[in-house]
């Protein structure tokens, strides 16, 4: 039940005994306060903040608000204060630069002292005694108390050590600025013994940020990643790619068995269906638990949600791309696992928040809820971080082969090789036929078996595509989905029509009349109530179509010709267009889709394959070479 557009946004000050006057009484001098929840230093205290920060030779950071204590006449009270937030490393670097001591506020002065004596325990203790309250004024969740200087200085040093640990951890990726902030936020969670929700919009790299968190905690205990079955391969792949030193244990499939001791820092990957019935997982004491695609636990009565709530961990982090803030029941269910107790019992939560917000659009209840969850939820949209993003954002999603797919795939390969390919024209025809079969199996067994209906649970790629498109539509965005196959397009169209709840999903293919094709394009571009997803066969999409209303492009299967795929992508993206486009490429792990994608990426292997005309080039390979390209890599399936 979607409520009013973003009910939690109106930031009306909460009325109540502790109500806050609109104007925050600022001291008029630039202050510095370490805010552990943001893992950042906050500059604040004057009206013209950016200018003052610049005059003090400090980094400007990003604008925001923080819940801080302020002096207001005869009392100290809680306030929501405009701040500039600076990540610790750049704050520490800038604070080390010497300045004339009498020029600055006491809070700024003590933090300058603090960064110069990080390794001196005694001096640090003494510093705590002369630190003004403004320097450690970050509030507790209730807004009734601030942390003591001793505790805050300890946290500050721990935060710096965690950052150093992260730097020394080999992460094979360059983090964008918002991802650095996300990692800082994530690493602060287990340090404060709290969970949280990373709710960045799809495509912003939540998995990478989570991997940085896991890789930065190598000593405390093992970590657990729970994700949909369709994403297990993707997690393995991303961990191996970004953090090759991390020990990874896949825990799914019938033969799974958790080793009696999992070493600290190792990452166990499992799926929600396994979590539901595997008691070894709930018996283990984890350091960090990651719950990916956490909508899976949105129903608190479901067995899987109860199993998730039973996991023991230093901190549980939920990841989701859907804006849970607007779905109050889902929000409760997820925070019940990550931050138990924060939102009270389910009934009381309904009474205090859901009913007021949904039945009477109560701004006070919405603002109170927002204040309550704000420290524990991090969501950035692409619009928020547009400056950090390239115009086209590429994302490869590795999908898991289902048992049925693996069986069909092996059978098709074995039969083709035992029948033999022959030579010349005949060979070419037989190789192409096999390639087509294998691609169809990767798409969905129903396409290969020429069935009428494609069910969920039979193809990792199909499941993942359906999940991603549902999320895109939930976000109010539009997507183009390309496939080479008419039959696959029909199967997808039927399924999406049934599940997206947005009317019939149109499929633009070569069998339609030119007039009908134009109509579909015009509808998608201009009509207010057009379905948000348009399926296209790659061939039909060739003629200068303009589909710039889409912000997502999905390549459901591969053409294996980068130039052709890029041309398709550019249906949605035009040079100079202001809104960016996210390009999702689906690849079934361990299959020929995977091997050929790797060859394209690394520009190695069989040169001709990497240069396009892939199908024809494959037909010219020897049996042995061909087998190497298409054989199922069982290591990538486990």
């Amino acid at each position: 039940m979607p409520v009013a557009a973003n009910p939690l946004q109106p930031a009306t000050p909460r009325a109540g005994v502790a109500s806050e006057p609109d104007a925050v009484p600022l001291p008029g001098r630039l202050q510095a306060t370490f805010v552990p929840n943001e893992n950042a230093m906050a500059w604040w205290g004057v009206q013209l903040l950016e200018q003052a920060v610049q005059e003090h030779g400090l980094p400007a950071g990003r604008p925001g608000t923080c819940r801080l204590a302020v002096a207001d006449g005869s009392r100290v009270r809680a306030a929501t204060v405009p701040v500039r937030l600076v990540d610790l490393d750049s704050a520490v670097h800038a604070l080390r630069t010497p300045v004339p001591p009498d020029e600055e506020s006491a809070s700024l002065r003590t933090w300058r002292e603090a960064v110069r004596m990080l390794d001196d325990d005694d001096a640090f203790a003494a510093l705590g005694e002369r630190m003004p309250a403004a320097a450690h004024g970050a509030l507790n969740a209730e807004g009734t108390a601030i942390v003591t200087p001793t505790v805050l200085l300890t946290e500050f040093r721990q935060a710096l050590r965690a950052r150093a640990a992260l730097r020394s951890t080999t992460i094979h990726a360059t983090l964008r600025p918002y991802q650095q902030h996300g990692v800082a936020w994530l690493t602060a969670r287990p340090r404060s013994g709290q969970g949280g929700v990373l709710a960045d919009e799809m495509g912003l790299g939540k998995t990478l940020q989570a991997i940085c968190l896991l890789a930065s905690r190598r000593t405390v205990g093992p970590h657990l990643v729970v994700c949909p079955t369709s994403l297990i391969g993707n997690w393995r792949r991303e961990l191996a790619r970004f953090s090759p030193d991390t020990v990874v244990v896949s825990h799914h499939g019938a033969q799974r068995k958790l080793p009696s001791t999992v070493p600290p820092g190792a990452v166990v990957i499992t799926s929600y269906p396994v979590l539901r019935r595997d008691t070894a997982l709930t018996r283990t004491r984890w350091d960090v638990v990651i719950l990916d695609e956490a909508q899976q636990i949105k129903n608190p009565d479901a067995q899987v949600s109860r199993a998730a709530a039973k996991l023991t961990a230093t901190a549980a982090i939920a990841m989701t791309g859907t804006p849970v803030e607007n779905r109050l029941d889902e929000l409760w269910a997820i925070l019940h696992v990550t931050n138990p107790g924060l939102l009270g019992s389910r009934n009381r939560f309904r009474q205090l928040f859901v009913t007021p917000i949904e039945q009477r659009r109560s701004a006070t209840a919405a603002a109170a809820l927002h204040t309550l969850i704000q420290p524990h939820l991090l969501r950035r949209t692409k619009a928020d971080v547009a400056a950090d993003l390239p115009p086209k954002l590429y994302s490869t999603v590795v999908c898991t082969l289902s048992d049925e797919q693996a069986r069909l795939y092996r059978k098709a390969v074995d039969r083709a090789f035992s029948d033999g390919f022959g030579v010349g024209i005949a060979r070419r025809g037989r190789v192409l036929a096999l390639l087509t079969e294998l691609k169809q199996i990767c798409n969905h067994p129903a396409q290969y078996l020429r069935e009428e209906k494609a069910e969920l649970g039979r193809s990792g790629k199909f499941d993942r595509a359906a999940e991603m498109l549902a999320e895109i539509v939930d976000d109010g965005e539009r997507a183009l989905v390309f496939t080479q196959y008419r039959a696959m397009g029909e199967l997808l169209a039927d399924h999406l029509t049934e599940t997206l709840g947005a009317g019939p999903t149109p499929f633009l293919h070569g069998g339609l009349s030119a007039g009908r094709r134009e109509e579909l394009v015009r509808d998608f571009q201009e009509s207010a109530d057009a379905p948000p997803v348009l399926l296209l066969s790659l061939r039909a999409a060739g003629f200068g179509l303009n589909l710039t209303r889409a912000t997502h492009v999905m390549h459901y299967d591969r053409w294996w010709n980068p130039a052709v795929e890029e041309q398709a992508t550019d249906r949605a993206h035009r040079i100079g267009q202001r809104r960016g486009v996210t390009v999702h490429t689906l690849v079934t792990g361990g299959t020929l889709e995977d091997h050929i994608a790797a060859m394209h990426e690394n520009k190695r292997g069989f040169a001709k394959i990497a240069l396009g005309r892939t199908d024809a080039a494959l037909a010219r390979l020897s049996d042995e070479e061909l087998h190497a390209v298409i054989d199922l890599d069982s290591g990538a399936l486990a």
Binding site: R14, A15, G16, V17, A18, S19, P27, R29, Q31, A69, V70, A71, D72, G73, S74, R75, V76, R77, A78, S105, A106, S107, T110, R130, M131, P132, A133, A134, A135, N140, A141, E142, T144, A145, I146, V147, T148, T150, V151, P340, G341, L342, L343, G344, S345, R348, F349, Q351, L352, T355, P356, Q359, R360, R361, S362, A363, T364, A365, A368, L372
Partner: protein, 187 residues
Amino acid sequence: MIAAEFGSTPWGRAWVRSVAAIAASGPNALLPRARTLARNHAVELTTEPGRIEARVSAADAVQPVHIDVPLWSPQTQAQVRRLLEKSLAEHPVLIAGDLSDSFEADLRQEGIPVAAGLDELRAECACRSRKRPCVHILATLYALAQQIDERPALAVGLRGGATDPVAPPLPGWIALTALDPVAFYGD
């Protein structure tokens, strides 16, 4: 079950009963009008211990309303504090700003009224109606009941009772009330 629009918790309900008491001797046409105003977000409300301030937008004019609410006596406040400690021990996991319904029942049993009666309030409205309480004052009280339903601690705070966890603040934290505003910035 659909929750009551006004008084969905016993805390808010106590105030709804106080307001409804004026209809005891016969139907009062102002009550439905006051509920409509509250329902239509016509009341902007802030409170502090012993005082309610509101701005009620009705019929093209905005009426400022002030209401003084009698505070509990110091003895009552001490008693409330004891009962609160007992309740927090029984319900350690509460949402910030929430109080258990059984705590309200405890107060009632001890004869401590959560809401004040209409005759105990000193209410002022700038409107020219000669009826007192006027529709603006009644609307303010309905809006108050709704805010209390969202944040029960408001009901106790309004009568001067302490609602923060009474136990000494956890180690590592300093209560705002223990901080000196003069030395706050240290210079």
